[in-house]
């Protein structure tokens, strides 16, 4: 019975790590091959976070219930909160998408 539970745990760890490798590789290939800035931002936000979350989940399953897994959960929640903020800040780096904010009137741009 104990061997059965151990083998199930090894299987889950293996699956999580394989999916993590796949998403990280797709991040690198996407950043190289995509033609535009905004499409690169798509690859840099979604695939990267999916790979990170799956690697962290594999580590948590490998560790079990202890303080180390709690610390890993804290890192994971911090990463998943701050990555959209980072992507949004980089996306508003240069305003090239024909958006003029409404707070500036047209006379301000004429000056």
């Amino acid at each position: 019975m104990i061997d059965f539970i151990l083998s199930i745990r090894q299987l889950f760890v293996f699956i999580f790590f394989i999916t993590g490798i796949y998403f990280l590789l797709s991040t690198a290939v996407g950043l190289i091959r995509f033609p535009n800035l905004y499409t690169r931002l798509h690859a840099g936000s979604k695939c990267l976070m999916a790979g990170g979350i799956s690697v962290f989940m594999g580590c948590i399953v490998l560790e079990g219930i202890s303080f180390v897994s709690l610390k890993l959960i804290v890192i994971m929640i911090f990463l998943s909160i701050t990555n959209p903020v980072t992507i949004h800040v980089i996306a508003s780096f240069d305003n090239n998408y024909n958006l003029i904010p409404k707070t500036y009137t047209k006379e301000d741009f004429e000056k």
């Binding site: 993590g20 890993l72 804290v74 980072t86 000056k111």
Partner: protein
């Protein structure tokens, strides 16, 4: 476990191509963010490989400072507005 770390480091070297040959500044910033998160994963996995719990603290501190870095770069490296109204 060690093969996983090797694959992630090779992926980071592949991503560094975008830092070398990026047309504009935000492309390089996105690639820098991706390489930073990959190195955070490498730090966590090395802590499990050596079985020393204190290495996770290094990963935590590194993650906090990576986030602050990207925000500072995006605030201070951007060019001001054409009208000169920029904050």
């Amino acid at each position: 476990m060690l093969y996983l770390i090797l694959v992630i480091v090779l992926t980071a070297i592949l991503t560094f191509y975008r830092v070398i040959k990026g047309p504009s500044l935000p492309d390089r910033l996105v690639a820098m963010n991706c390489i930073g998160v990959m190195f955070l994963l490498v730090l966590v996995l090395l802590s499990f490989y050596f079985e020393r719990k204190i290495f996770i603290d290094v990963a935590l501190v590194y993650g906090v400072f990576l986030f602050i870095n990207v925000l500072i770069m995006a605030k201070y490296l951007r060019k001001p507005w054409k009208g000169g109204v920029g904050d």
